[in-house]
Amino acid sequence: MYKVKAHCGKHDLCQDPFLTEGNSCADKLAKDTARAFLETRQQTACEELALAMSLQAHLVHTLATRSSLFKMLPAEIPAGQDFFPDFIICMLLRPQNSDFSKGFCLFWDMSPTCNPCR
């Protein structure tokens, strides 16, 4: 068994082009297979995460609203005012796009979804 240089480009002649070509093919095939599997799961994962987060937001919102109501008399609450603005809840509901790279950001930060204008 022999070691070949990993991810060696065709323009880089530090290795036999035959070895480079074979290594590149194997690398691409493995990556494509793993990525295809990940993409099949990504949509489901996004939906389930969005669902869980929207539920959490709903619970927090409801509890916070109720606790704030306990502190103030009904007459003291301005009409139509909630404890949290509505867009905080709405933006947690679902990813705004199905693109792989952008949708994947959902797991790391909420920036793709935290846009109250959308």
Partner: protein, 171 residues
């Protein structure tokens, strides 16, 4: 006897609930009780973590013997275990190629590289030349070859389950 009074639940009749609920698959129970049922993804993943990587019988010695084989493994590691994905690929000079997903709880690029070597042994008979870009796997395989592919050589190795499988295939 007075009828039992049933006050509305905390999350019933909530305007935000009506505006925000995803309509297709969210059950009323979840919103009313706060209990989140196990999703499809987790159910599927639970099945996979108890599975062992399997090589199909159709691929047994399917490649041309004495052909150089290139192997590689790839892993998309994620902190959320159901979103991890690892695959191993085998490519021969004759143009044959196969790729396999790695199932199981422990998915790393190192395991994918080892499994790729196992898959190469599965596909070819006789003496074969394997090329891998993983120095650790190459060193261990060459070490095991010196040991006559004995299981005594893998006692202190990580991923011992795969190395046992490798020794079995090599013998």
């Amino acid at each position: 006897m007075r009828p039992k009074r049933r006050p509305p639940h905390l999350f019933k009749s909530c305007g935000l609930y009506e505006r925000n609920r995803p309509s297709s698959f969210f059950h009323d129970t979840t919103w009313c009780t706060g209990i989140f049922p196990e999703g499809e993804l987790i159910t599927q993943w639970r099945q996979e973590v108890v599975s062992r990587p399997v090589l199909p019988m159709d691929d047994f010695q399917a490649f041309v013997p004495e052909s150089p084989i290139f192997v590689d493994g790839s892993c998309f590691h994620h902190s959320w275990a159901p979103m991890r994905s690892a695959a191993a690929a085998v490519v021969s000079k004759c143009g044959c190629s196969k790729a396999y997903l790695l199932l199981g709880l422990d998915q790393t690029s190192q395991r994918a590289e080892i499994f790729a070597v196992i898959a190469a042994l599965w596909h070819c008979a006789g003496n074969i030349t394997i090329y891998s870009d993983c120095a650790n796997v190459v060193n261990i395989v060459n070490f095991l070859r010196c040991c006559g592919f004995s299981n005594r050589g893998i006692i202190n190795l990580d991923n011992r389950d795969l190395w046992v499988l490798f020794n079995f295939m090599a013998n």
